[in-house]
Every structure is written in structure tokens, then in C-alpha cells.
């Protein structure tokens, strides 16, 4: 299978560009002019006579209009149909659809028309509340609001961030659930009605901005009831909307209660965790499904083994409010050995541009048991060398050694608690 990479000018020397069979520059650094530049991206696919487009994650990955445009030009979009992306990718609509399917959702609103609308909704459901971008993902366009006084600023900030990241600044609101765990279910469906889940991932280790930092599968200390409930709801949701290709349903779990939060109609950053646990190449399955192939297996054939953990190594300074670091990576050494996988674009001399997400590398560790996976991850992180920009490696190690993480009793308050001002 031959590949064509698209890149922005600052990414000209990026690893994916060097490894693709062909590459085209589609614009300058700023995202809207390059990675969101639909005409240039489509033009590239047509000129190089591509059959299909894989949108990755972020950018146009959940843009139903882009999926439509691909189809209009005879290009297979590797993902669900545009109507499904629109229904589930729009977070507010998705909640409505899930309610129809009998899946429990978090109390919340539809799209907020204005900040006044937001104020009314918040007063009704009671603070604290969470403002979320309907086109969002990756923690972008999200703001929690503790009190009425903070609402205007949070609304404006979330709107601007959503507009910049997804070309869609619309927000909706949810009740902020106390001490929730973020647990998500990986699904995969072919175009013949074959739908399977590939277990759940616990992604509660999040930065204060709600962006995930560490993910693991299976979720530790989850009751059998809650686990079964999650898997069943995920399948039910997929069948209800006629979902095809890969996707993830995100839930908030508080005790034994699980609430549907949103669905990401794309492959996710942390998909390698599931790949390690199930021995399945999810991106390959995406391509197969898009090519019209049947899955070829049923739920009973999928048996997870052992435990997998992923740590995101970001170019950020945790001590400085996770300020993104740009620059040149002068030296880089990645760990190896059994049960270790590293997905990265880094090589010595690689430049980290200031325009994009700060993710540098994903380190995934697999072990027969959770403790074995943790031990391997700790060893791998200590062996990792990234020089030239600050990273989140130390923070990941701190989390892994915390009592909460080791015992598997943590929620999304884990990292914020570590950074709570001690006055």
C-alpha cells in the first residue's frame, strides 16, 4: 500500500513525510491554512491518484463535510459515513441520539445559543458545570465553571479555542460530575452489520485541561456489572446509529453508575493500548473495513490478554502550567525490549513547531499483569532521553509511582490534586 503524506511548511522534515512514498506541502504553519485546508488536501489526493484518505485524529478526522467532499471526489474516507459522523461527532446531537437508544447520558444541554443561554442552563442544573465544544476532542474547547462569575470568561475562552481547533465554536453544557473516572470503549464495525467492542480503557489521568496523559486497558477496579454495562451500551449505540469503522464511546463512571459522555468517530491517540491488549491492528482494520471487507471475526473471537498502559510524552512544562515547548530535539533515545512500543515522529534534529499539539511520542507498555506493565513502563520512561525541549516524562513517572495509581483507585482529579496550590 502506497502512501501520500500531506504536511505544513514547518513539518517538511517530519518523520511521516520522510517515510511516505510521496508528499505534498499543503500550506503554512497555522492549522486552518494547512491541515484544515480541504481544497489543498483533496487536490493532493486527486493529483496523486489516491484511493482513500485516512484523516488520523484531530483536524478533519471528525469533519462530516470533509468526509462528504471526499466521497464527492471518488475518494474513500476511512471512517464512518458522513451522516453518522454528523450525528455522533456533534456532541450535543450524540447525547440526544444515545438517549433514544436507551443509553444513560450525563445531564446536560443542547447547543448553547449564547452566554445568556449558558447562564440559564447552569442556574437550572446547578454549578459546577462543564462547557464543551460540540466539535471537540482532545480536551480542546472545554472549560469547567465553578461559579456564575466565571461563566462569561469560560464561555469566551472555550468558544475561541473550539473555533481555532475545529473551525466550529459551538458549545454545549454538562453537569460536572464529582470525582468521575473517564472510561471509554473501543468499537469496530464493518459495513455488513458486524459490530464488536475491544474492551474499555481508563483515561482518568488527565491534565487540568482535561487532555489525557496516561491511559490503560483494562480499567482497574471496575465492577463486573459496570464493565458489562459499558460494553453492552457501546454495542447498542453502534447498532442504533449504524456505525461503521473504528470509534470510541467515552463514559464517565462514578461508582457503579456509568454515563455516556461523547463518541469520537475516529481512531484515538491511545488506540495502541487496545492493540496491545487484543493483538489487533486497529488502523489496518479501519482500512479493511473502508475497503469493503468484513471483519471476519465475532465478539467471542476477541480475547484480551494481560494489561497495557500508554504514557503520552508531550513537549510541555508541567511546572509552568503545561506551557507548550517548541524548539529542536537535539538528542533522542527511545526504550525497547519486550512489551514496549513507541510511536513517535521524533528523530535527532527534529523540530517541534509551535503550531500543533505538543505530543512527541506515545510509549506503550504491556505486561501479563498490571504490576508488570507498570514496572515495564517505569523502566522504559527512565530509559527515554529527549533533549532540547521539556517533556512530561517526569510527571508520568510521578503519577505511576503514586499510591492512587498503583492501587488503581484514581479519578480525573489525580493530576489536578498533584498541582493544587499548597498555601
Amino acid at each position: 500500500m502506497r502512501t501520500v503524506a500531506v504536511f505544513s511548511e514547518p513539518d517538511r522534515q517530519s518523520l511521516h513525510v520522510r517515510q511516505a512514498d510521496e508528499s505534498f506541502c499543503v500550506g503554512p504553519g497555522p492549522v486552518p491554512r494547512s491541515y484544515l485546508n480541504i481544497p489543498n488536501i483533496i487536490s493532493t489526493a486527486l493529483i496523486t491518484r489516491c484511493d482513500a484518505v485516512h484523516p488520523g485524529y484531530g483536524f478533519l478526522a471528525e469533519n462530516a463535510r470533509f468526509a462528504e467532499i471526499c466521497a464527492d471526489h471518488g475518494l474513500t474516507f476511512i471512517g464512518p459515513r458522513p451522516s453518522v459522523i454528523a450525528a455522533m461527532g456533534d456532541k450535543a446531537t450524540a447525547k440526544r441520539v444515545m438517549n433514544e437508544a436507551g443509553v444513560a447520558t450525563i445531564p446536560g444541554t443542547d447547543i448553547l445559543a449564547s452566554v445568556d443561554d449558558a447562564a440559564r442552563a447552569a442556574a437550572e442544573m446547578g454549578y459546577p458545570v462543564l462547557l464543551k465544544a460540540t466539535a471537540g476532542g482532545g480536551g480542546k474547547g472545554m472549560r469547567s465553571v465553578e461559579r456564575r462569575e466565571d461563566l462569561e470568561r469560560a464561555f469566551a475562552g472555550a468558544t475561541a479555542e473550539a473555533e481555532a481547533s475545529f473551525k466550529d465554536g459551538r458549545l454545549y453544557m454538562e453537569k460536572l460530575i464529582a470525582h468521575p473516572r473517564h472510561v471509554e470503549v473501543q468499537v469496530l464495525a464493518d459495513e455488513f452489520g458486524g459490530t464488536v467492542h475491544l474492551g474499555e480503557r481508563d483515561c482518568s489521568v488527565q491534565k487540568p485541561s482535561h487532555q489525557k496523559l496516561i491511559e490503560e486497558s483494562p480499567a482497574p477496579n471496575l465492577s463486573a456489572h459496570a464493565r458489562a454495562s459499558l460494553h453492552a451500551m457501546a454495542i447498542r449505540a453502534c447498532e442504533h446509529v449504524g456505525y461503521t469503522n473504528a470509534g470510541t464511546l467515552e463514559f464517565l463512571a462514578a461508582g457503579d453508575d456509568v454515563y455516556f459522555m461523547e463518541m469520537n468517530t475516529r481512531i484515538q491517540v491511545e488506540h495502541p493500548v487496545t492493540e496491545m491488549a487484543y493483538g489487533i491492528d486497529l488502523v489496518k482494520e479501519q482500512i479493511r473495513v473502508a475497503a469493503g471487507e468484513a471483519l471476519g471475526y465475532v465478539q467471542g473471537d476477541l480475547v484480551p490478554r494481560g494489561h497495557a498502559i500508554e504514557c503520552r510524552i508531550n513537549a510541555e512544562d508541567p511546572r509552568n502550567n503545561f506551557a507548550p515547548q517548541a524548539g529542536t530535539v537535539t538528542n533522542v533515545v527511545f526504550p525497547g525490549g519486550p512489551g514496549i512500543r513507541v510511536d513517535t515522529y521524533l528523530y535527532p534534529g527534529a523540530s517541534v513547531p509551535p503550531y500543533y499539539d505538543s505530543l512527541l511520542a506515545k510509549t506503550i507498555a504491556y505486561g501479563d499483569t498490571r504490576d508488570a506493565a507498570i514496572a515495564r513502563m517505569e523502566r522504559a520512561l527512565r530509559e527515554t532521553v529527549v533533549e532540547g525541549v521539556g517533556t512530561t516524562i517526569e510527571l508520568c513517572l510521578a503519577v505511576l509511582s503514586s499510591r492512587e495509581f498503583r492501587t488503581g483507585h484514581y479519578d480525573i482529579g489525580l493530576i489536578p490534586a498533584m498541582f493544587a496550590p499548597t498555601v
Partner: protein, 296 residues
Amino acid sequence: MTIHNAYIGIGANLGDPSANVERALVALEEFGAIVRRSTLYRTRPWGKTDQPDFVNAAALLETSLAPRELLSALKTVERGLGREPGERWGPRIVDLDLLAYDALEIDEPNLRIPHPHLRERAFVLVPLAEIDPGFADARDALPAEELQGVEPLNRGTVTGMAAQRTHVTARVRRLAEFLAAGDAVRVRVESPDGEFEVARTVRGAATQHVATATATDARAMRIETIKADLVGIFRLSRPAPTEGEVLDEDRELAYIEALGIRTPVRSLGTGRVVAIASVDGAPVEYGQPLFLLDRG
């Protein structure tokens, strides 16, 4: 730099002769571009039954080397390919002969062009006539039993499309190397095989080639590069701008075709067209240099 046509004769009869001939052809690429090569022929040594069959071929090498330099290069290739393993002083694995060089005639002690025995040897003339029909008459003048001793080794080894592709690829590669080595932006070659034009473009993750102009006094110029701001196919406008043309007003020079829409590329003012950095019909990416204008 002038390009010359050199006809090379290749022969081998030790080890794996076919493979050795192919390796010689690859090695010759260091000194030019093989624009034509014959199929492989097996020559039964006539009357000498104790010798293994020879494999022979002929190639047309486009090169900038002078005859003596080329001869030296051929010797280098022979030495580089070595000898039969275990035979320190034994025969060479491959024999390379300079058969002809343009229309030159040289008669010097250790350099005679055309090769003195060229017209006597079937194993030279048969492959040579295959790549250059000009030698057909000389081949046909040979005795029948000589010609019968030379047979194609494998019918269709390198014929038709593959040979054409090799030919074109080699020619284009040679021109690209010529471009990369100097300041030229575009090179055009007209030959009996067709016209070849190679232009410097900026694509992919390779080192960015900055299109520069061939100019006698670059310092007196104020060069501005007009770049593509979208992905598409580059097409020159009609009438097409020409290199050296002076634009006395803002003008549309070309357009980029993408998704059924033609986006004009304008000169954005006056100036002299120093170079046209892309080729009509070529795909261009964002930021690709299209025109170099001297704003004077």
C-alpha cells in the same frame, strides 16, 4: 558541458556472465546515462570448444567525458568488477570496449576510435545494430556462419516498455544531476528520441532546491520568487511568458488548476522574467517556486 554519444561493447564469459554484464551496465551509470542497451547475446566460440560461451551486449552511453577519460573509466569499471575469485592474475570478469564516440576518428597508440575490429566481429555488430540501426548494413555484410554464432540469450530480456522506461529515466536523471550541480533552473534537450525538459522543483522532504537564475551579474538584480499558494497543476497562460521577457504591467503568467477551478498566478507588478521554475502540466505544492522575477 557537452554530451557525447559513446558506444560501449560489453563481454563476459566467466562466473555468471549475464549477471556480470548487467553489473557492468549498472557500474557504467556512474559515468553517464545509458540511454540504450541491447539484449544479451550468447556467442558460441566458433571452433574453440574448450572455452565457455561469451555473453555480449552493447550500450549507448551519453557522457560528458572525453574519449581518454572514458577509456580510463571503462578500465576502472573492469577493475572494480574484479576478477574470477581465486584467480589473482586471471582474466577479467568483464571486458569493456569503447567502440565508437560520436563521429570521432582517433588513431593513437593506445586509443583507436572507432574500434579497429568493430566491423569484423558479429558479437559486436549484432548487439550494436540492435541499438543503432546505422550499423545494420555492416552487420548484414558479415558471413552467415559468423552471424549464426550469435544468439539472443533470452528473448525479450530488456525490450519494449522496460527499455523505454530505462532510457527515459536515465536521460531525465542525468539532466536532473546536471541541474543539481549548477545554477540552472531548467534544462531542455532535443534529440532524435524526443524532447526532454527537466526543471528544478521543490517537492517532498528532500533538500529544498532554491530556484536560482543563470545570470551574468546576479548582484544587479532584485529577485523575487512567485510561489504557488495552493496544490494543483501548473499551467502557463496563453500567450505563455518567456524567460527574459520584460513585463511592463501586472500580468497573469500562469494558473493553477485544482478541483476544476483555475486560480491565476499573477506577476504582482512589473519586472523581468528571469526563470520559469515549473513545467507546464506539473503538479505543484504549496510554496513551490513558479517564477523568478527581477524587479530591477
